[in-house]
């Protein structure tokens, strides 16, 4: 009888495909995963505590740095929370601008998620470069509106930082058909690929009931077949005025998550088309004092960020600084099911599964 020994491998914190400084302690039997222990906190910057000593407005640039890929959605969630806390009304044009930015952010994020998934699968060069190309075009729009590509600091409590520049909407109108082409091309290029299917179908299966038990949200949950989207379940902003579907998949594996992201990109483009058509003229923000003093109380607001449900919980004690500033990062909570998804698979699958969950380490560690 042959005796085998397990080996322990520290995957990370320096590893090309852990999407940052994430560490997984793998126990391997040959190449099969026997145990996996995720470890994180290498990128902890204490953003929550830091924000408690800043004013409500000063914390907006910090939210950019939570999930640096979708800074606009982070701004959005935080702004919604502050508005709920202080009872601020937002003008309609600002709501439209916010929706446009949030959906563009979703496109950016899903592009990168698909691209990096293929990076992890070993198609290093091409899908991710295509994704980056289109992302750069969207980031150009962000830069045009907010002055910065990634750290936008654009959506503020009360509205947005400034009105859209004149050339923004025409540019966006031209861009939407192009992005639709891009999604079509990615589908054509990758969806049927037999090698990808061999790697992805049935890998990292997350059953629907387990996903709910782990409070997984976002594309990962919907890929498992649970039709839950904050935009529909608890409409915030003006999402109830748009006509869009919540796509779901059945299989709940890596391949389903990939398809789910592409479907969501289509839905985002649908929303964008409507928003661009209907955006009204008007004020872009209500005046909010820079040292905002919300009344005593607490508020929790959540939005459907690209990675899942992003929530902010704020407690005010009537001073200009929040008493408690807490956020619910989708990446961290989606990551909690990693072990369940990985057990019994091979080393190569760990990377794939991690890529399919789509985390940002800055969002995990905060």
């Amino acid at each position: 009888m042959l005796k085998t020994e397990t080996i322990t491998i520290n995957m990370g914190p320096q590893h090309p495909s852990t999407h940052g400084v994430f560490r997984m302690v793998l126990t391997l039997n040959g190449e099969t995963i026997v145990d996996l222990k995720p470890m994180f906190g290498y990128l902890h910057r204490g953003l929550e505590k830091t924000s408690e000593s800043r004013t409500y407005l000063q914390a907006v640039p910090f939210t950019d740095r939570l999930d640096y890929i979708c800074s606009m959605s982070n701004n959005f969630a935080y702004a919604v929370a502050v508005e709920k806390l202080a009872g601020i009304e937002v003008p309609l044009r600002a709501e439209y601008i916010r929706v446009i930015m949030a959906e563009l952010t979703r496109l950016v994020n899903h592009m990168l998620a698909v691209g990096f998934l293929f990076n992890d699968l070993g198609a290093w060069y091409t899908p991710v470069v295509y994704a980056f190309r289109e992302r750069e075009r969207i980031l150009d729009l962000f830069e045009m509106a907010s002055g910065s590509r990634m750290m936008c600091n654009y959506i503020r409590p009360g509205g947005v930082a400034a009105d859209l520049p004149a050339e923004f909407l025409p540019q966006l109108r031209k861009m939407i058909p192009h992005l639709e082409n891009f999604v079509r091309e990615i589908r054509f290029y990758l969806s049927d690929n037999e090698i990808f299917k061999a790697r992805a179908v049935g890998v990292g299966f997350l059953p629907a009931d387990m996903a709910v038990a782990y409070s997984i949200t976002g594309p990962v949950l919907r890929a498992s077949g649970v039709k839950y989207d904050v935009r529909k379940a608890e409409p915030y902003s003006i999402y109830d005025q748009f006509d869009f579907d919540v796509p779901t998949q059945v299989a709940g594996d890596v391949y389903a998550r990939y398809l789910q992201r592409l479907d969501e990109m289509d839905e985002s483009l649908k929303i964008l088309r409507q928003a661009v058509e209907r955006i009204p003229e008007g004020e872009y923000a209500t005046k909010v004092p820079s040292r905002l003093r919300p009344p005593k109380g607490e508020a929790y607001a959540r939005i459907e960020a690209p990675k899942g449900e992003l929530g902010f919980y704020l407690v005010s004690d009537g001073s200009p600084n929040p008493y408690r500033w807490r956020n619910r990062p989708p990446s961290l909570i989606n990551l909690s099911a990693l072990r369940e998804m990985c057990l019994g698979h091979k080393v190569a699958d760990v990377v794939t599964i991690l890529g399919s969950i789509d985390i940002t380490l800055a969002d995990v560690d905060r």
Binding site: R54, L57, Q58, A59, V60, P61, F62, T126, R133, E136, R137, D140, E143, M144, A145, S146, G147, S148, M151, N153, A161, A162, D163, P165, Q171, K174, M175, P177, H178, N181, F182, E185, F188, Y189, L190, S191, D192, N193, E194, I195, F196, K197, S290
Partner: protein, 176 residues
Amino acid sequence: MYGKGIVKGLWVTLKHIWGTYAKDIKRFPRRYAPGGIAKRTDYDLYGLFTLQYPEERYEMFPRFRGALMHLRNPETGEPNCTACGACERACPHGVISLEGEGKGKDRKVTAYRYDLGRCIFCRLCVESCNFNAIELSREYELSRYKKDFILELDDLLKIGDKYGIHKTGEAWGVTE
């Protein structure tokens, strides 16, 4: 048909190879964009996308948030800053520290220290300024060989002189 995905994938990448060469041929004798300023968006799936950075660059958008600069009063040539300290209070990172002298209307800035190394370019300082004194420039090549990231008032004014503007927020549509 099994294997269709493989063929489709190869077809897509082949089209991309061809696309880049087609664009290369189109602009054959010229290697870089004319004048070193590259055009931004040309919504095309195919063709070269990369920018040959030092030889050509993008023109920054008017709203681009780069390093801080100080603006002058067009008539007197003095800095607009009155050392009110609003920017210092607005900054989330404590990047700005300043000193001033005089009271009321005569108050003038005497020292202004801006720590470029810690600045996150959020523009909250500019938004808080009521005197058209500071604005973010479009400077983005900010790396240094030494750690001398602290810019004094003179350096900031020098950047401001390059742009020759006297009002804050023109690009943002919020001039007061």
